[in-house]
Amino acid sequence: MRVLYFGILKDIVGRRFSDMDLPEGLSVAELVERHEREKEGSAKVWSSIAVAVNQQYAKPEDVLHDGDEVALLPPVSGGLR
């Protein structure tokens, strides 16, 4: 499964995407928890993100499937402040 990183997450993880082998039945929230445990960056960063699965915002309880395109999205900052 390909996991994409954007914005500050790309800098924290050090790459734009990872191809990961994930256990069957892993949820979106569990994927975020894994990143929070294994990666650099404060807990605040990981707890504020959203996840898109196949380019749609996903819920924490959504289950990931092989072949999904998953993206981890920090709070967005387009437009102007």
Binding site: F6, A29, A52, P60, E61, L80
Partner: protein, 170 residues
Amino acid sequence: MRVEIVDGVIPAAEIVAGLKAGADGAVCVFDGIVRDNTRGRKTLHLDYEAYREMALEQMRSLANEAVVKFGVRDVALVHRLGRLVVGETSVLVVVASAHRGAAFEACRWLIDTLKRTVPIWKKEQFVDGAIWADGEPFPEGMGAAQASGTVRQSADGEPFPDEIVPGGRA
């Protein structure tokens, strides 16, 4: 409906002129431009990046929703990516409507919602360093970690493979 993500200059005047039609009594324009400072810190330029396909799809949805929600006739929504300097347009929202009230409301709703939900980020380059701009929190129900406290722990909590840890494991 004109919804685009572009890499070059946004032709604002042309887009506004192109949206007007005989049935309109009002065109409301929001032209978001790069300011020369953030909280007093002098800005050199901004670098915008997007999850491009998703951002475009989200913008299309917002434009459609605005037409339904506010009853306006037509909408243009254009965001620029890449490096922008002070004074340049990063986002343009144009709403055409029979009456001004709906045009103002739809325009305000579009820019406010875009800023919270469309996956675009900006890095601010200052004279003395660069930071990713803080985004506003995602709207209720959109964040991924909100329910993480109540979700069961995954089986073994296997560590990430070495290849995805920056610089490998210590």
